[in-house]
């Protein structure tokens, strides 16, 4: 690892991360470990498994995970791999009425991950073997925590406690903290399959510099000067607006606000990239999460879920507005796709030097680059020590 490829502390003299961080397969796997697996990363949303027994396979940066809600209603994440021959256990969303049965040799696991049955393991009709100790062969559980419906995972198992990791963002948004979030229906959930490195989507999200050019529709009322930087080194960065406008339906209907918000949120809204891969929006009347699910150095799934302060089925009068709102965000977030894909292609230009930051406008972006650099340097030190 060449430290000279990394950005400098001073944005004025700093270049961005070198091309290799976006196009190299080797670097992708190094970053997967250093940035994604060793942090608290967003892998799914808990509303994917609303009922006890619901299970969903997740591909998290190539790591097969199994998201499930146990019979007590708790969300758990396991490696989706049988302890016998490494077969994938669950291939598609389902409701588990009983145990998890491996489709290969039918080893069965309880929803707490413990190995329940090993059929024919000692020969036909003989279901135990002295050398197969079920007590030591449960599924590998992945450290996980649910916050704002986001299922965060720490694959390495050694990140600081989640509450420590999330303390600053929770404090920042304390007026929103703990308020019920209800996943919207229909158009409230969508995905983009994007030909870019996941980091480019972070970088684009956390700066407002591009808004007048890429989102001219927003710019008609939300001008560049109405935005401010959000900069929390090592944790998150993003942008806020002071002129948020609620969506209004054809009959004048609006979404109700989250309870107990101060006046600031009447026209304030914030859009934050929580490192590494969780993009958040917090507004008075709805919120969303955009999870960046890396598929390789040059491909990312962007998974979006919009949330409301009310149970959607209790407000049929707002069904159309929710549908319209989902489509609106699909359009706005879709406007960014050509940019992140263009930056990805641009990074195959061998003379590109990481780019020159605009010091007054790219602060949040620069902070993310520094976070990447610090994590990669720490990884290098760990490997050198080993």
């Amino acid at each position: 690892m060449d430290a000279l490829q990394f950005p400098e502390r001073r944005i004025e003299s700093s270049r961005g991360l070198a091309n290799a961080h976006y196009v190299s397969s080797d670097r992708y796997y190094e970053e997967r470990e250093a940035l994604l697996f060793s942090s608290w990363s967003g892998a799914a949303v808990a509303s994917d498994v609303p009922n006890p027994g619901d299970a969903a396979p997740i591909d998290f940066a190539g790591m097969p995970l199994l998201l499930l809600r146990d019979h007590d209603g708790d969300v758990k994440v396991f490696q989706n791999t049988c302890r016998h021959r490494g077969m994938i256990l669950v291939e598609e969303k389902c409701n588990l009425r009983g145990t998890i049965r491996c489709p290969y040799h039918s080893w069965c696991y309880n929803l707490d991950g413990s190995l329940r049955a090993t059929p024919h393991v000692g020969g036909p009709g003989r279901n135990f073997d002295e050398n197969v100790d079920r007590r030591n062969l449960g599924l590998f559980e992945v450290r996980s925590c649910v916050w704002r419906d986001i299922v965060f995972v720490n694959i390495s198992g050694d990140a600081p406690e989640f509450d420590e990791y999330a303390k600053v963002i929770k404090d920042r948004w304390k007026e929103h903290e703990g308020k019920p979030l209800y996943a919207g229906p229909g158009s409230s959930s969508f995905e983009f399959d994007v030909a870019c490195n996941w980091k480019l989507a972070v970088e684009n999200y956390c700066e407002s510099y591009h808004l007048p050019w890429i989102h001219p529709g927003l710019n008609s009322y939300s001008k560049l000067e109405d935005h401010y930087h959000i900069e929390e080194p090592g944790l998150f960065s993003g942008q806020g607006t002071l002129v948020y406008r609620q969506i209004v339906g054809e009959k004048g209907e609006r979404f109700p606000d989250f309870d107990g918000l101060s006046e600031f949120w009447n026209e304030g809204a914030e859009y934050v990239a929580l490192y590494p891969n969780v993009l958040l929006a917090v507004q008075r009347d709805h919120a969303y999460v955009l999870l960046l699910l890396p598929q390789g150095p040059g491909r990312t799934i962007e998974r979006v879920q919009i949330y409301y302060p009310f149970e959607p089925e209790t407000r049929p009068d707002l069904a159309q507005l929710m549908e319209t709102n989902g489509k609106l965000w699909f359009g706005v977030l879709g406007e960014d796709l050509f940019v992140v894909e263009g930056m990805q292609r641009g990074r195959h230009g061998v003379m590109f030097d990481g780019g020159k930051f605009a010091p007054k406008m790219d602060g949040p972006n620069h902070l993310f680059h520094l976070w990447v650099a610090d994590r990669m340097l720490a990884r290098g030190r760990r490997m050198a020590a080993e």
């Binding site: 009425r97 009983g98 145990t99 049965r101 039918s106 069965c108 329940r116 049955a117 059929p119 024919h120 036909p124 009709g125 003989r126 279901n127 135990f128």
Partner: protein, 75 residues
């Protein structure tokens, strides 16, 4: 026990993914063989029944487990 008919029923249940039927069919076959003194064959089928009973959360799982334990095939 009509083995041909049982085979056809088992194959049909596998084809349609009917785990409850599989558990019942295998348990029936297992009990029949055990009753006839064919413990090995019986425990093979009871094991099959046990797996599907577990997978589909059927109450029969516990009685099958006990039967397998009695024959020294499960712990």
């Amino acid at each position: 026990m009509n083995l041909d008919k049982l085979n056809r029923s088992v194959l049909a249940a596998h084809a349609s993914g009917d785990g409850v039927a599989l558990a019942q069919l295998y348990q029936f076959a297992g009990n029949e063989f055990v009753s006839a003194g064919s413990i090995d064959e019986g425990c093979f089928f009871l094991t099959q029944a046990y797996v599907y009973s577990l997978e589909f959360g059927l109450e029969s799982a516990e009685e099958i487990r006990i039967a397998l334990i009695e024959h020294g095939r499960e712990r």
